[in-house]
Symmetry: C2
Subunit: 545 residues, 2 copies
Amino acid sequence: MLLLHRAMVLRLQQACRLKSIHSRLCIQACSTNESFQPQRPSLTFSGDNSSTRGWRVMGTLLGLGAVLAYQDHRCRAAQESTHIYTKEEVSSHTSPATGIWVTLGSEVFDVTEFVDLHPGGPSKLMLAAGGPLEPFWALYAVHNQSHVRELLAQYKIGELSPEDKVAPTVETSDPYADDPVRHPALKVNSQCPFNAEPPPELLTENYITPNPIFFTRNHLPVPNVDPDTYRLHVVGAPGGQSLSLSLDDLHKFPKYEITVTLQCAGNRRSEMTQVKEVKGLEWRTGAISTARWGGARLCDVLAQAGHQLCETEAHVCFEGLDSDPTGTAYGASIPLARAMDPEAEVLLAYEMNGQPLPRDHGFPVRVVVPGVVGARHVKWLGRVSVQPEESYSHWQRRDYKGFSPSVDWDTVNFDSAPSIQELPVQSAITEPQDGETVESGEVTIKGYAWSGGGRAVIRVDVSLDGGLTWQVAELDGEEQRPRKAWAWRLWQLQVPVPAGQKELNIVCKAVDDGYNVQPDTVAPIWNLRGVLSNAWHRVHVHVAP
Amino acid sequence: MLLLHRAMVLRLQQACRLKSIHSRLCIQACSTNESFQPQRPSLTFSGDNSSTRGWRVMGTLLGLGAVLAYQDHRCRAAQESTHIYTKEEVSSHTSPATGIWVTLGSEVFDVTEFVDLHPGGPSKLMLAAGGPLEPFWALYAVHNQSHVRELLAQYKIGELSPEDKVAPTVETSDPYADDPVRHPALKVNSQCPFNAEPPPELLTENYITPNPIFFTRNHLPVPNVDPDTYRLHVVGAPGGQSLSLSLDDLHKFPKYEITVTLQCAGNRRSEMTQVKEVKGLEWRTGAISTARWGGARLCDVLAQAGHQLCETEAHVCFEGLDSDPTGTAYGASIPLARAMDPEAEVLLAYEMNGQPLPRDHGFPVRVVVPGVVGARHVKWLGRVSVQPEESYSHWQRRDYKGFSPSVDWDTVNFDSAPSIQELPVQSAITEPQDGETVESGEVTIKGYAWSGGGRAVIRVDVSLDGGLTWQVAELDGEEQRPRKAWAWRLWQLQVPVPAGQKELNIVCKAVDDGYNVQPDTVAPIWNLRGVLSNAWHRVHVHVAP
């Protein structure tokens, strides 16, 4: 197993023509046609199909609260008799007043009571009101599971009349068909939209993550942007000038290059799921990667559009070119104070490790907000504006927030928590892996550590006995600048395996330069969305006799 | 007990003529002559004298490593015969080459091997080389304990010749005799130098801590500064002008007023001591207080002396007017980047809650560094300079740093850890208190929460069952500005006592806006100096039948 991974690293390094230039590794982007196995996007959920995993995914996606709420309907649905409805009848049920109906194939469902429970938000489900679900399920492929269909069945009220059992008129062609080909090493958490992470043993092989295995977090299909016609729209300040910047225009701003680690708020969510089901993708330890980004500084571009830091509580809102069928784009915002601060080094990046951005990472332009959660690094950037309040995007206001373990989907008030910006201190073990067998004698433990807000990691403690005693790991990777420690530290510890030990409970925990530490356990930081999972990382291994 | 405290709160509030002006409480300073019981400073260690406490204090002050190292000497000392030495002979032993001798009364000691083990640092002990210890022990009154004398006895090599048994020539008058009179409510952790905290039940009675019970952390005797002749020396930049500022001069700079919470790095050290002995004062939960500070901005004063933020990695070094017998002043530093940032709001404060600074809090001028550990808020400020490196002060480089639990006094390398600047998120329960009996029915739980670096406290979770289930507390006190949340939030939770419960394990934990959390337990953050004690705060109470 390990040998296989070693071979993959070598192959990847060869394919990428890895060049080490002093301490800064510069990885040339792989041509996807050269060495990758093409992998067709599929509407079915990839990965193993064991029922355990199925249930976990369902719980993850729908939230435990919602699942429980369905139970009521089982009895009721069984008592109802089958009715026949025309397409016209269905199409007249599009509001709470009339009832909200949808169809799937020839079946008709009254989802009025479910709308508020829809994990993707009521507005997304309302897009399908009065018509077929298929075009939306094609976009959000997570619905294509037997468990989701089973739940939907509880809301069935009848059948479409035979003359209306025709293919839906709305275009159902696969919106993900044009997604790029991906590296086969990536562990796929969701194919559509594409979400995948590098395997742990590849993740910390390089300080700079090679582009092809950089973790990918997409919310929608990947737009296919023509670089020649691409324009970035920057709304001007009152009295200033709005900008419509071509790629060439962006290149005329002074170019900055910085090494920044990006981490998804959901990194290590799978450990939270083990405490109690959460809603979200099952990220393991790989929703984090590091690249050297090149581009224009956001503060320079905003200044050219006439913006100043006079209204300190304003926000800079970003919109992507990725959008859902209604044209709603992915969006997020950061405080203007951060955007305008040259020391915060916020970039409009057009390069990733010396190459144009790969399509999965925002070609041709993405935002890079050092020290801040990945969700604000908007990809395929289309529009920048300064607003008195933060973005009204679903992903800014109804997602990517943390709550008390006591809050569930019935009690959550998204307005009560701030949007995640800076992330807390994080670390994980990438070698050895959970369940592995290590040789007696000496064991090498490797991993990564990072903190948000430019806070440098100053120490990583490692325990072999579940946290009773600790040893200080050696920090590798680049030294970080004070207050601008945007990138991770890799670390390792070579340590004798205590004689006679049959198993080891390996634990790591990091400390940042604000002396913030990771919490001991997962349960007290559990939250319904499964974000901010930064408890001590624990790996249980066997020792070879 | 509780009634007594209530009475004391009332008396204190009357004495202070508490005024609530909108949300900002403005406390008039108490006249120390009006309502306090004068309390004579004493060279002996105050508090209960049980041997348990004695040993704990000794371990605390000297470090377990050093204590163990003494054991060797017990046997050796017993074998040596008594010699007679002249004062001249003693005075010629002042270096490792000649041996390092000191006297106490008529006894002579060879402390050559102990110098490197001296908890206060070798340099402090070397001040006494070749002469009497008395003048130094008078300053550092912690030495005046039987246990310290017992340890010193192991190094005895003889007696002074009878003609030299005279009173030491160095002035031994009590350097603390001129310390101010303090409020009797303060819980004294050390009388000389004076270190004391308000009792928990007073601490959170007011959002703004009344000056007389603001926690006091002194390292040396309190200087008695004449405000008319006081001058603050600010070293000019190359090409700039050095300044010698009178109090009137400082008042001519624009005046800023901000509410800032100060916390000692050793707050809650007593909980760490319960895991394993540490070196330091036994602070409970009260080494934290909040005041409204008024003064000139450091950045304005530095600018007038010609300083700019060109050398971003420089440091601003502060020296106090409090000094030891050699004239070494208390000192500390902060990065120039923070000092010059108007948004960081670093003050040269001359007012505390609308009054001139009390003597214990730095009269006439102290530094206030919002969001940063108390040790950098240098009191009785005498000198400000910009240096390429941080302060060479003992308290900057050989103290106030955090280490792994695996590091002890034999292995510690102070250069391996950064000086503490921003502090991690903190919270504590002030009501009810550990061991108290609460009424069945309903219990009100109160406390404080704060985080460093201007990060706002966004939530406090409270558990009645040791951390299994949580409830969200109500946050009181002033709303904090984004990125400038310099002051604490008080919080409370009124909650029914679960029926039939005979005891409650109450726990609190806070979250800041970087979603940093407190660690679950103390042992994994234990460190030899007992700083940064911010694990969940736990209180065990009984329920009245």
